[in-house]
């Protein structure tokens, strides 16, 4: 088999400029929007004209607190919880955080946040949704700098 397998763990997200501690799953949904055009000259055959697209991301993970040594490199679920209460818009990067690999980036807000903590001796879980500002999302390649 030729080609390069991209493992699930390689697809991640940066919230602001930082990775998210305890992150286990990310999801991306891009929904292009079209407008149906049907002019007289088209003789009854409508076409879909591209207008723009919406970008939404989902994140989920376990309740880990970042270490003091990770202050400049990571956010954790408690930071995100507070951010969700503020409605703050931050830069994001989605994709493979390896120099030269393809990513998308832009600005997004947390539009949903939830946590679950059971009674067992194991980590709790959290999940959230991000919605990108329309027009801010671009595709490029990742640069560590």
């Amino acid at each position: 088999m030729v080609g390069t397998k991209i493992y699930g763990y390689q697809l991640t997200i940066k919230y602001g400029t930082k990775l998210i501690k305890g992150l286990k799953t990310v999801g991306l949904k891009i929904k292009p929007n079209f407008e149906e055009i049907l002019l007289k000259e088209q003789e009854g055959v409508a076409i879909d004209e591209f207008v723009d697209f919406d970008t939404e991301m989902s994140i989920a993970g376990d309740t880990w607190e970042k270490d003091v040594t990770e202050a400049t490199s990571h956010e954790d679920y408690e930071t995100l919880r507070e951010a969700s209460m503020l409605g703050a818009e931050v830069a994001f990067v989605y994709g493979r955080m390896t120099a030269g690999e393809k990513i998308i980036s832009g600005y997004a807000k947390l539009t949903d946040w939830s946590e679950d903590g059971g009674s067992e001796k194991k980590a709790g879980t959290w999940s959230g949704s991000l919605k990108a500002r329309k027009g801010s999302v671009t595709a490029s390649t990742y640069s560590a700098t």
Binding site: Y9, T12, L19, I20, G22, L23, K24, V26, G61, D62, W64, E120, K121, K122
Partner: protein, 121 residues
Amino acid sequence: MISDAIQAVVGAIIPNTYQSIGDEKVTVPFCIHEETDTPDYLKEGLAGHSWSVEIGIVHSTSDAAEALAVSVIDAVIALANTTNCNTIFEDVSYEGSEPGFDQQAREYLKMLRFTIETKNR
């Protein structure tokens, strides 16, 4: 390895302790243990392991099997937050037990179940 740690602490209570499969001619009391690993992966890599541990104690009477079970439970729970056989233990939870009886051999079984979180294998 967690198996070595379980072997060490349970073997101190029941010398005839085996991993997964026992000696065919072993006499009671004896013990068999098995550990099943569920790795805990975060995006940044392996964050730890969650183990489902089963420890089966076999003895000639139900009371004797029960008495050994109590000692084994205490010993395994005591592994929490220690390092044993190079395995870094975090939480140890005793999940319960199931009794059993072999009519042919006239032996009583006490199957103990634990969930153990470790930093490494």
